[in-house]
């Protein structure tokens, strides 16, 4: 196999650092600790949200369990001027963009479609329509290019865009069209595909008979296969791809090979379609464990840090439990707002109708 086709791995599942001629990690101990902390916290976030769904506080939740390294490794490679488009599962990336977990819950609780301030966080909300946002991301990147915001040599202002999607999404026409637009216009975009082995109940081989990273070869952009449970490698390849994008060298496709350790969503029952032995196989490759071992073995992870982190995680969970329940239901009348820029006679009339219904309901 060509070197270029070999999967990038910088730390293996035993917690041993691996050298790779292509990528040098620039992460120091503090940075590694910080990545570790983020992974631990989002795992907690995920666990808590799952629990809230079980308790009836959320309509649905899409767990990220198992994908912490892919999301934190790539998410932490972003700069503030970059922009992100993601699916419903990238809570970890939203976390890296500074989105408060309780804000995320608004979507799943059904109080808002777009649960956080996209302009402020420079990350568009959860996209449910598989693949559609790959084109939005490409268009946004085309915009950065047209606006002269790439290739100026200033790494603090040059912009890149990341589009996150799954293995299943690779089959949608929109994603493939996005590859075409991105290469035709040499747009500053990184397509970050988390191959978590499953699209609901369908294994990746239903979507492709070859590695997904190889899809890139068909369109003429670099395709990189990275161990998606290796946060160091995910960080390194994304950093490099983003740098290339910002400096005007065009798009990259990254396939992060990982595993959806939980259900597709809280509505799903994976025992219907996959073997427990798969879970066991992948549990060995846990993205958090390996970094923990490394940090521990090298004396970087101190007991106090661990204790503090556990406390942080608990208080995050506690806050989520409390604040989720406090999330206000939207005013029913808000349903009529923001369909158009101005007012609309028909909608206004319907709104008045509901006003009457609501006021009558109060009377009764």
């Amino acid at each position: 196999m060509d070197l270029q086709d070999r999967i990038v791995q910088l730390i293996d599942s035993t917690g041993t650092l691996i050298s790779d001629p292509r990528y040098q990690s620039t992460l120091n101990d503090a940075a590694l600790l910080s990545l570790y902390q983020d992974m631990v916290l989002i795992r907690k976030l995920d666990e808590q949200a799952t629990a809230l769904q079980r308790q009836g506080e959320l309509g649905l939740w899409a767990p990220l369990l198992g994908q912490e390294a892919a999301q934190i490794g790539s998410g932490r490679a972003l700069k503030s001027q970059d922009y992100v488009f993601s699916t419903y599962r990238e809570h970890g990336v939203a976390w890296c963009r500074g989105v408060d977990p309780v804000e995320m819950l608004r979507f799943w609780r059904g109080t808002m479609h777009q649960p956080w301030d996209a302009n402020f966080h420079r990350m568009y909300g959860y996209q449910v329509i598989i693949g559609a946002h790959a084109l939005h991301a490409t268009g946004y990147a085309m915009g950065a290019h047209l606006a002269g915001r790439i290739g100026t040599g200033n790494p603090e202002t040059d912009q890149a865009v990341v589009a996150y999607f799954g293995d299943g999404a690779m089959s949608e026409g929109d994603v493939n069209e996005a590859f075409i637009f991105a290469t035709t216009y040499k747009s500053p975009i990184v397509f970050f595909c988390q191959n978590n082995q499953w699209a609901i109940s369908e294994p990746t081989k239903r979507q492709s008979s070859i590695h997904l990273s190889e899809r890139a070869k068909g369109f003429g952009l670099p395709g990189i296969r990275v161990d998606g449970n290796d946060v160091i490698a995910c960080h390194a390849v994304t950093t490099e791809a983003l740098d290339r994008a910002r400096s005007g060298e065009g798009p990259t496709l990254i396939e992060a090979v990982t595993y959806r350790m939980g259900a597709h969503t809280t509505s799903d029952d994976p025992t219907k379609y996959r073997a427990g032995s798969d879970d066991d196989f992948w549990r060995e490759k846990d993205p958090i464990d390996r970094l923990k071992i490394y940090l521990h073995n090298n004396g970087i992870l101190k007991v106090e840090f661990e204790t503090e982190l556990a406390a942080k995680a608990d208080s995050l969970a506690e806050r989520m439990r409390v604040e989720c329940r406090e999330l206000p239901n939207p005013d029913a009348l808000s349903m009529f707002n923001h369909v158009y820029s101005g007012s609309d006679a028909r909608i206004d009339e319907q709104k008045r109708e509901v006003e009457v219904i609501l006021s009558e309901r109060e009377v009764h």
Binding site: Y126, V128, S171, A199, E202, M335, I347, I357, L358
Partner: protein, 327 residues
């Protein structure tokens, strides 16, 4: 007579159609081992094999487009679109290719494809899981569009859709999936009522409620409440949105002199407008009041915490009844 849920009735209907004709194949995302996200196809891959219950790549245009090729080959594909909100990537294949094959070929080719789709809101889920796209399809020449409102219709209509030589969009009211009802599975398919024939669910004399899918139950509820106040509502389940069974509708409205169309889809451009205008033309001298609509509002589907305020309910229907009775 056996009692099933609507969902189970779909499953049994599919099974019977597959037993009756080996050319019937099912296609869709997650319909195989998993049996579909709602389990409508549960057990079918196990019993009929991977050649007849086909898990497809995640690409709706691809699913419908390849189903067209399979139908040209001689198969009778039944496509599952996982949720209403995911049908749009296949729109071109449905309205341009699927709908027109027979016409373009002057009858030489035809596509006996059924597209099943859970539709409508009220399940407390996230965006794109509560849509009512029926008007897009009902206004497309060459397609047939039907909905079932109870288990018996679900069981028979899915079989009728599959044996039909026309492409049929088959809409399943997802929030009624677990509603139970009697199904007489001993009938022959030829004895079951036609999916194109509207069903008078409840007879009445003051006003006709015209509905389909999930809001048939809502309409019935309103009728029961109205009866208490001495207002007699006739409830009709349209079953088919294309073609509309206008004779049945006209007969009812000529009798009652009033009509209200009830559906979850937005008012503007929903099928209510078409029905209303047709009835105005046919019942002009019979109408005591204009035809009204009780529908979802003219907005995108709202976040689920307020979906109950969006969806038509019995109270809103009764308000409209009061209005038409006051003319």
């Amino acid at each position: 007579m056996s009692e099933f849920t609507l969902l189970n009735a779909v499953n049994r209907g599919l099974r019977r159609a597959m037993e009756a004709d080996s050319k019937v194949i099912l296609m869709g995302e997650d319909i195989g081992k998993l049996g579909g996200v709602f389990r409508a196809t549960e057990g079918l891959q196990k019993d009929f094999g991977e050649g007849r219950v086909i898990d497809t790549p995640l690409a709706e245009s691809g699913i419908v487009g390849t189903a067209i090729g399979l139908a040209l080959y001689g198969y009778r594909p039944v496509v599952e679109i996982q949720f209403d909100g995911f049908v749009y990537p296949a729109f071109d294949q449905i309205v341009v290719q699927l709908a027109r094959m027979r016409y373009r070929s002057a009858g030489a080719l035809f596509l006996p494809i059924t597209i099943r789709m859970p539709f409508g809101g009220g399940i407390g889920s996230v965006e794109h899981h509560g849509e009512s796209p029926e008007a897009y399809f009902a206004s497309t020449p060459g397609l047939r569009v039907v909905t079932c409102a109870d288990p018996s219709d679900a069981y028979w209509m899915i079989q009728q859709a599959i044996v039909s030589d026309d492409p049929v969009i088959f809409l399943e009211p997802k929030r009624r999936y677990y509603q139970k009802g009697e199904v007489d599975t001993t009938l022959d398919i030829s004895e079951a009522p036609s999916m194109y024939k509207a069903r008078v669910v409840l007879e009445g004399s003051d006003c006709t409620l015209l509905s389909y899918g999930p809001t048939v139950a809502t309409s019935l509820q309103a009728a029961r409440m109205a009866a208490v106040d001495g207002v007699s509502l006739e409830v009709i389940d349209l079953r088919s949105l294309s073609p509309l069974d206008l004779p049945t509708l006209i007969e009812s409205v000529k009798k009652t002199g009033r009509a209200i169309v009830v559906h979850e889809a937005s008012s503007s451009g929903g099928v209510g407008g078409e029905i209303g205008l047709c009835l105005m033309q046919s019942c002009f001298y019979y109408l005591h009041a204009p035809i009204l609509r009780v529908t979802g509002y003219d907005t995108p589907y709202p976040p689920s915490r307020i979906e109950d305020d969006y969806l038509p309910d019995a109270d809103r229907i009764l308000d409209a009844v009061e209005k038409v009775m006051g003319y």
